[in-house]
Symmetry: C2
Subunit: 245 residues, 2 copies
DNA sequence: ACAAAAGTGTTAGATTTACACCCATGA
DNA sequence: TCATGGGTGTAAATCTAACACTTTTGT
């Protein structure tokens, strides 16, 4: 917060004000890295791949790729996700860029981190992808590159998001019980929730459609099944933004 | 959310798993752009510069620069801020990357957006920077490049941040009255706040130190002056993270 | 004395939390 | 019939929101 004398040489040219030659700066590559969250066996998991780089042999890394010369980074992230999971329409959100020099041994690579929420059951992981595995988030200790830091940032973002926005549905199958939804919230937020209060809160959001179906093959009283009310959700988003209404 | 058959050609190589040649991808430049917030005349303002690029002649743009080949993007943002405002220690937070192809006329430039909070009075804007101006956020309609979009994203982030974190102090002088602080909150959140409730809430945070000084030269009853309690704030942050305590 | 903003408590309403019993199913 | 989790309501506590008068200063 302290004032400082200005350096003597102010920049006379600037990328936003003058058309300067930027070809000398084309020394940095851009990649995307995806933290793909899934929910299985009451645990929040992320999809990782084994790195073959010497420096990181045996360590796990995120799924990512170089952004092509004419590609929108968002599209690159969607491409990685489609290629690896086979899922086309999924929840994807950019988190932030990571660009410390030295973070990638192949050269200067600035990566843009995304997180994605998918239903594990919908993903088609090919056999040849036997280096792909779902890891419980809680158990991930170290990773290749700065990917642990990226995972931490994405997980923190997901937690914050979930507190205010109903994104959790993207991690569940189309039909789910309130218990499954609560397990999901408890796994992500790492807290225990009161069952009655949770149900009241979820129901008051008005985003569930009662399917009038029951669980099957459970060794106890079966639970009712619901689906997410996409239309009601869209309407809420719009009125929140002052578009509708 | 629908499943799709996998494309036939899975990538056999990947930037995170194999050491691939990335020199062919060195076609993209990285820049940083800073949304510098200041608070003056009870308005939230941002520091902008006139663009001289033909395409954007007369339009306002953010302060930014190319990230140097061996430079951490965070450092590049600090560099831009120091160079332009003369302020060394300031609040800076990365928001996200913007990288649509075609967003910059000089070529493919992916920019990392930051926002910064400064005390306008501490900034030293040099005379030769007569193209630099403070603009009320509310009045900014269009800008050069995709900078309006960047400003919107940074302003949204600031609003969210302010709801839970006491970052507003960075915009005020060291000594301030509760009225000034309330004006700041009202300007950023674009709401009217109840004076008594606001004071109660702020006081309950325990982050103000009563300086036992009064305003001067005001044509009405002078207000007490406070300063931000940096130590108490740090202690709170630490205990929240489970470090201390 | 007047204008202008500072300072200060209380009450109603809304939200959040804590908590215990009966029910439906499969084994 | 037993074990397991499903389903449900109420009361206390906390937080939020609404609201008006007196005080201090400069003019």
């Amino acid at each position: 917060m302290s004032s400082q004398p200005l350096p003597h040489s102010l920049p006379q040219k600037n990328i936003n004000t003058h058309l300067i030659e930027i070809k000398d700066y084309f020394k940095i590559a851009i990649s995307v890295d995806c933290v793909i969250f899934g929910f299985d066996e009451n645990e929040l998991k992320i999809l990782l791949i084994k790195s073959d780089l010497d420096q990181f042999r045996g360590k796990w890394s995120l799924l990512g790729d170089i952004v092509r010369t004419d590609e929108d980074p968002d599209d690159a992230a969607y491409r990685v996700l489609l290629t690896r999971t086979g899922i086309q329409d999924l929840y994807l959100e950019q988190v932030q860029a990571f660009g410390k020099p030295g973070r990638h041994p192949a050269g200067r690579v600035v990566t843009i981190a995304y997180y994605s929420l998918i239903n594990i059951r919908h993903s088609i992981l090919k056999n040849l992808d036997n280096e792909l595995h779902w890891h419980p988030v809680k158990k991930i200790k170290q990773m290749a590159f700065d990917h642990k830091e990226i995972v931490d940032a994405c997980y923190a973002r997901l937690r914050e998001k979930l507190k205010d926005h109903p994104v959790g549905f993207n991690l569940l199958p189309r039909k789910f019980s309130l218990r499954e939804l609560q397990n999901l919230y408890e796994a992500i937020l790492a807290v225990k929730l009161d069952r009655r209060n949770f149900r009241k809160k979820i129901m008051s959001m008005g985003l569930l459609i009662d399917l009038h179906e029951m669980e099957d093959d459970v060794p106890h009283r079966p639970a009712k099944l619901y689906k997410f009310n996409e239309d009601a959700f869209q309407k809420q988003e719009n009125s929140y933004l002052g578009i509708d209404d």
